[in-house]
Symmetry: C2
């Protein structure tokens, strides 16, 4: 799996919002949340290309970037990894930890029920 640093992920995440996109569009999107210098973001884009997380096409002297993977696929792999590391691969203990520390809202519960429901429908 391609390993991304936090900052690299944030840049890729800004691209996932809508792509293909140019560096300046990505910089614009990130400007709300981060106080990153334009050069910083360009460096990160370069590293993402080098890692194979992005590709680009030239358009004049600009590059138009496209992610090489989908967000859901990437986050799924990260999630598996995370749950493996901290909870021996089982997901319930994570949810249970949230529950115990009052971190679950009624909405979370409803959403979880729906996930379970869908899973069960899918089984039979």
């Amino acid at each position: 799996m391609i390993e991304l640093s936090k900052a690299e992920f944030d840049v890729l995440d800004a691209l996932w919002i809508n792509y293909p996109a140019t560096a300046s569009q990505i910089i614009e999107r990130l400007s709300d949340d981060k106080q990153w210098h334009e050069k910083t973001i360009k460096t990160l884009l370069g590293r993402l290309v080098k890692k194979g997380a992005l590709t680009f096409e030239k358009d004049g002297r600009q590059y138009i970037y496209t992610p090489c993977m989908e967000r859901a696929d990437y986050t799924l792999k990260e999630s598996q990894n995370f749950i493996e590391r901290f909870f021996s691969g089982r997901i319930a203990p994570l949810v249970s930890g949230f529950a115990k520390s009052e971190q679950l809202s009624q909405q979370d519960i409803n959403e979880l029920k729906k996930v379970i429901d869908d899973w069960e429908k899918n089984q039979k």
Copy 2:
């Protein structure tokens, strides 16, 4: 929050198995899973102390280490962090991602149901 690297966490995790414990006990526990040199583990213990994740008492010329936090607290914080970063703080999308990719077993579902059940009992 104290930030631990992967290797540091693994060492702390070996201590959480049973503590207080000496360096050699920790090294022994880790020897099954990791091919780490003894020196490597000592270095990591030192870094954990420096980061405030461990304390120790002297016993002759050995140190007896104790974690400064509980595993559940640490993993909860990591989980919050993770879910914030990748799923905007909502837990269901993580579970849903697992479901969609056939990563949930009947046992997982049962456990999740129990978590929900307990949560609901706790509400009224």
